[in-house]
């Protein structure tokens, strides 16, 4: 077993941009379908389900899930796992409004866990912005990338 101090370093990915180029709009129809899939009715006031904080930022950030894994030198087929997800809303998400994403990778830390063996912990931050470039929300996500080849 390789000790923590002797593990090869994780790829240096801190600061890589996740700025998106795609405009993301939550449609009335998809919001209704999503709400139904979770057992609730859509809001009558035009607010989208707040879980779109995650969906909108993931879909409209500058890299796909596989692309983010790729810059971390991790094969998406090896199974990235969600560690945690946090969000702070400045205002509610609305259907029919165009949003853009700005963001970056904050860090990739290699460590050993008793449960998963060697793993890289990826942290990235995304900001969802409206047409005036005002921030609607900020989210910070942590993924666990198991490095079975280093176990």
């Amino acid at each position: 077993m390789i000790e923590n101090s002797k593990l090869p370093p994780a790829p240096d990915v801190a600061g890589i941009s996740l700025d998106g180029t795609e405009i993301y709009v939550i449609s009335v129809e998809e919001n209704a379908e999503l709400c139904a899939s979770t057992g609730v009715a859509p809001a009558a006031d035009g607010c989208a389900h707040p879980i779109y904080y995650y969906i909108a930022t993931q879909v409209a950030m500058g890299k796909t899930v596989a692309g983010v894994c790729n810059v971390c030198k991790f094969d998406v087929d090896d199974g990235p796992m969600m560690g945690s997800s946090g969000v702070v809303f400045q205002k509610p998400l609305m259907v029919g409004v165009p949003y853009r994403v700005k963001g970056k990778i904050l860090g990739l830390v290699r460590k050993r866990s008793r449960k998963l063996g060697v793993m890289d912990v990826l942290t990235y931050r995304l900001s969802l912005r409206d047409e005036t470039d005002a921030e609607v929300l900020q989210t910070e996500n942590v993924w666990v990338l198991p490095r079975r080849e280093l176990a």
């Binding site: 899939s37 979770t38 969906i55 993931q58 945690s84 969000v87 809303f89």
Partner: protein, 133 residues
């Protein structure tokens, strides 16, 4: 409506997690990871014998619990830690307890449990209950 520290929030229950809904979430998320879609892949990876629900869908159940518990309120912040997987067919219960009340804001500990016991999400949330329009 008033809230007090220690007050338990009404549970939000999903009687059985739907594999069909996972197919929809794969489209919502534009993420075709087969562990959510193909039970044979789940078995081959040694992850169990049922397809695995997408993590954000699990967060959505907790959000539903909060929105029902605070009518007219708005989620200001939320932190979710993913502790375990949710599988197709699981019965889920989202719950919470008030940990702080001040200045039109209620803070809560929140959680999601599968089949009455297994913790799958733990977290915190802040709810704005007095919205300035």
């Amino acid at each position: 409506m008033s809230y007090a520290v220690g007050q338990e929030l009404p549970a939000f229950i999903i009687e059985s997690v739907s594999a069909e809904a996972m197919k929809k979430w794969a489209v919502f998320l534009r993420d075709p990871n087969p562990i959510h879609l193909d039970v044979e892949v789940v078995k081959a990876k040694g992850l169990g014998s049922r397809v695995i629900n997408q993590g954000p869908a699990n967060v959505a159940y907790v959000m539903n619990m909060l929105l029902a518990a605070f009518p007219g309120g708005r989620i200001e912040a939320m932190e979710s830690k993913f502790v375990d997987n949710v599988y197709a067919g699981d019965q889920l219960q989202a719950g919470g307890i008030v940990t702080g009340v001040a200045d039109g804001r209620v803070n809560c500990d929140v959680w999601l449990r599968a089949d009455g016991q297994r913790l799958v999400i733990s977290g915190t949330a802040a709810i704005l209950t007095q919205l300035v329009l």
